[in-house]
Symmetry: D2
Subunit: 100 residues, 4 copies
Amino acid sequence: MIVEISIVPIGVGESLSQYVAKALKIIESKISNYKLTPMGTIFEIENFKELGKILDEIVDELIKNGVPRVYTVIKSDFRIKSTTMDYKVEKVKAILKFDK
Amino acid sequence: MIVEISIVPIGVGESLSQYVAKALKIIESKISNYKLTPMGTIFEIENFKELGKILDEIVDELIKNGVPRVYTVIKSDFRIKSTTMDYKVEKVKAILKFDK
Amino acid sequence: MIVEISIVPIGVGESLSQYVAKALKIIESKISNYKLTPMGTIFEIENFKELGKILDEIVDELIKNGVPRVYTVIKSDFRIKSTTMDYKVEKVKAILKFDK
Amino acid sequence: MIVEISIVPIGVGESLSQYVAKALKIIESKISNYKLTPMGTIFEIENFKELGKILDEIVDELIKNGVPRVYTVIKSDFRIKSTTMDYKVEKVKAILKFDK
């Protein structure tokens, strides 16, 4: 499945990029192919249990770095017919191009 | 932590309540205190790994019932200082009442 | 359509209920029937433009109260066949009861 | 502010890219700089009212194309101190590189 996670540390001021970088380092160590966007991080993963392990590790790391509260938003897209991150984007782009 | 999950079965028409009911039955069997809202289900859970196990079970159940694609939205609120679903709502209501 | 909004003020510490109360006061003044949940506020509204006006007012109010950054999550469910918040919940509950 | 929108048409089968393309064409006609990701579309916009107008137009277009139900997820990040989509990503990448 394809997932997008957005980690929002709360209680450590308004500049969050250093914490996002810490979260991303954990993702980088487990996921070879991820996309960092201005609003989250997107990657493919086997199932929710595997995703849960990564998210627990991220929360632990943020707590160790002084974050008292962590808000998270996750979107996931599971499909029996296997799909990839790149396929989803390319298909939409192909339709857009064809229609012009 | 407090989580809200929204399960959106795709590819089985526009009426989704029978699938939501199947997901809810799984939640009911694991979580004693949950809140069903018009836009999701809210409950307290230890960590993301435990949440992941429940979500994997829900996806499996929906697939078995003919759903080819499952879109999910999860929001979570983890706080070191322990909190509860009811406390969050009561505190906001108390402030609203006091301000009147 | 039915919408759920979650307002997350950033940069004002970890306790957010006083800000959520300010947002809710604005919603209360415009929307007669809303549901406050531990993870957001749910109500029915005509369209996204009307929702946008309310959200802009909430952001303005939070800024006036010293919030430097506002993170928001919105989920919406639009259906041609009109539906209500209560209908969605009741239908799922009815199926759950029937299945027992 | 920076927003990410995810449009999920319901009731038209499991393959959604043609509908996503229709939504994207509307975004393209109004927003010069947008990012299409595997899980949504990200762009900068003045306020929620302007975003609302675009979303209403997308919903109308999908209905005209036979979609009976539209589920939407929106995340937004408003900051007094102005920021851009590219700045957010570059800053995290810079921290990651520096830490290595």
